[in-house]
Subunit: 313 residues, 2 copies
């Protein structure tokens, strides 16, 4: 069930020419504050501003030549829309992106700028899925799910893979949990490269469906999630959940105020822009100080796409 | 008159253990927009958030042991205050920082946090200089001018030195001009390592004293400068001007609106935080497209200290 070490290793090799090998930053201030040794993998500095570029690229690269010629389709109002659009453009493939009509215009424009075709639909999951299926039938494009797809999961895991290859031994890997693509991929990389270590997830109290799913042992829907970390509102995927259940130690939940404080802290001290979803992992680090004390901790800063004219501070 | 190549080379060696070797970033988006190949030296990611850490460190390291034991003193309301405080703390020296009573409390607190003693004075240049001299006489601390000091200039030049050593051939080096420490140091590094290349300065129209000084051939006072780039309001130093006159090709002036656009552009596209003074160099790059077209350009992003609760966009 779990992909083998060769699969994630090959994914890392496969995406390498098309994604940034993002830098790993350390911060004396953060280390002093936490009493631990933190290595930030800066996927906010990834192409299009988020780790999702990795999964999108890996998924497209796994298509047969004839499938690739027909293009790819997904539905997303967030980073994956842009990621698939840019990855498709980079790999000379056509991308069809189904977006809810109430998606911010800047996001739609960004997707179009990458050369993708945007198909608007009503702002419901049902309409998104129906429209997506329609496009798929019409174009024969391959549907790429934003996170519930093993090639996407493996692609996302290449961030942790690179991080571990660069800094070596880490006691804990820490990443936010949305649909579970990043955290599952991270857990796979950790499992093979650092089997004695742990992967810990983080999510807002206002969108703690992954926490509940782990507790109950069954995927819980994300009902009316309320959080500034809009990338983490989705519920777990069928492919992601079993990996998370088995290979993620636990999920730390954080308050909205903690997310905002952590976000501002990283901006001010490290001079890099992270989006609220990334700040959720930092907030977890700050909240559970004793858990990380004196440990070497790898934190995946998942993305940096923020509306600068609408900041929470 | 111009320091020799050994002097800047030694400065680079001297500060190395105490400052960050900051990363060099490239951006496809910027390269597409400018039609040039731009290498950003990220001094916004330097310790305390600006290149000034380099000059302060180099100046303290050049003191005799007995002078170092007595401490250092300067007057500054900006980045140099923090830089000297942190450098002194790092090098186990006492720092006395004279700050105008109207300096933002956060800046005073930051300086105190680094262990320096803050001495408040009236918000006039006269009072700053008088208070500084009083402190100097009382403590026997060595006065370190924020920019009109050859060891400070050489220290600031180590950013360009590192940049050139890392990326090799560059046609143009571009940096903002305030008191002239950074641009003079940059010109020295370029002169010795890339004698066929050029150093270009940039400043706001609202604080174009360096532009005028070069035009008239004599240091012009900075009279009522009005610009968001508050690090660039100072007038040129006596040590800086002759170097700038001889080794800086020209100074590009930019509008306030261009500074804000450039700042937002770098934040949005590169996900790093730069202060308005840094954005002045980027604005110059955007304004004089033809000048940089198809060239390899090194841009010193001077700093990233911004009040996040008071942004211009």
């Amino acid at each position: 069930m779990l992909p083998g070490i060769e699969e994630i290793k090959n994914a890392a090799k496969r995406v390498k020419p098309y994604v940034h090998h993002t830098p790993v930053f350390e911060s004396r201030t953060v280390n002093q504050r936490t009493g631990s040794n933190v290595f930030f993998k800066c996927e906010n500095l990834q192409r299009m501003g988020a780790f999702k570029m990795r999964g999108a690229t890996n998924a497209i690269l796994q298509l047969s030549e004839s499938d690739r010629a027909k293009g790819v389709v997904t539905h997303s109002s967030g980073n994956f829309a842009q990621a698939l659009a840019l990855a498709a453009d980079t790999l000379d493939t056509k991308a069809y992106i189904v977006m809810p009509s109430n998606a911010p215009k800047v996001k739609m424009d960004a997707v179009k700028d990458y050369g993708a075709e945007v198909i608007e639909c009503a702002p419901t999951l049902e309409s998104r899925e129906k429209t997506c299926e329609m496009v798929r039938q019409k174009t024969n494009a391959t549907f790429i799910h934003p996170y519930d797809n093993m090639n996407v999961i493996l692609g996302q895991g290449t961030a942790a893979w690179e991080l571990i290859k660069e800094v070596g031994e880490l006691d804990i890997l820490l990443a936010p949990v949305g649909g579970g693509g990043l955290i599952a991929g991270t857990a796979i990389a950790q499992h093979y490269l650092l089997p004695e270590s742990q992967t810990i997830g983080s999510e807002p109290f206002g969108a703690d469906d992954a926490y509940l799913s782990m507790k109950i042992g069954k995927i819980q829907p994300s009902v009316n999630p309320i959080t500034i970390a809009d990338g983490l509102k989705t519920q777990l995927g069928e492919n992601n959940f079993p990996i998370i259940q088995k290979y993620v130690s636990n999920i730390i939940r954080v308050e909205e105020s903690e997310i905002i404080v952590a976000m501002k802290y990283i901006w001010e001290r490290m001079k890099i822009i992270i989006e609220p979803s990334s700040a959720v992992a930092v907030a977890a680090l700050f909240r559970k100080r004793e858990r990380f004390l004196k440990k070497r901790v790898g934190v995946i800063l998942s993305g940096g796409n923020v509306d600068l004219t609408d900041l929470p501070f």
